[in-house]
Amino acid sequence: MIPLSWYLILAAGLFSVGLYGVLSRKNAVGILMGIELMLNAANINLVAFWRYVDSDSIAGQAFAIIVFAVAAAEVAVGLALVISVYRLRKTVAADEIDMLKW
């Protein structure tokens, strides 16, 4: 049987890759993709902990489904923001969107 810690390390690795993507990518769409990766890593943790710690109830799976719904909403709003910013500034590079910078 696979130890729980393997899943946790895998999720930590994916989360860190996603974090690196969020911090270093310039494309705003790429930043959103990094956020998706981080949400997925968190979801792996949720399902793994459900399976190994509390496998009598299936509440962990219900939690994971709610995370899916929230991620879908987040992507819809995020991409709408990207389109809206593109209309105004003709760019999706995150470091050129500096209207708030004084």
Binding site: I2, N27, V29, V70, A73, I83
Partner: protein, 170 residues
Amino acid sequence: MTPDVILFLILAVVAIASALGMLLSKNAVYSALYLILNLATIAVFYLLLGAPFIAMVQVTVYAGAIMVLFLFVIMLLGAEQLRRARTLGWQQPVAVVLAVVLVAEATYIIFTKTSSLPDIEAAEAGFGSPQAIGELLFNQYLLPFEITSVLLLVAMIGAIVMTRDGKKKE
């Protein structure tokens, strides 16, 4: 080495490699395609963990709907390649350091704190089936479920309002 351990290791390599491919490819379309591969391998992890319904939702909602939305926006905006912009020189190394520190911390915590977990036994047939999850969602977790639906509605309205072209009115 049992078959599921071998499967886990292969899948872990694919997942990490596709995540790195997502990061390192310059073209945003290739990034999105790598992310689809990553999400599909995560779906297989859910199957390994005994959560078939979650795996199917992962494939349909994530690898299907969300990534189609991503590709659609990338191609709509022509954002595959960013033109050479001025760069923040310190940003890349700082990001590498932060990500490496995070993964090192997480690995340390995992190895020092989770050694006392019991081995799990195989789940009985039908456990975690769509029917069981549906019953749980619509009975015990009805309120969070409804709140989620309101959240999705708000996100939909917000997306429509924000992407509507305000100038072409009347």
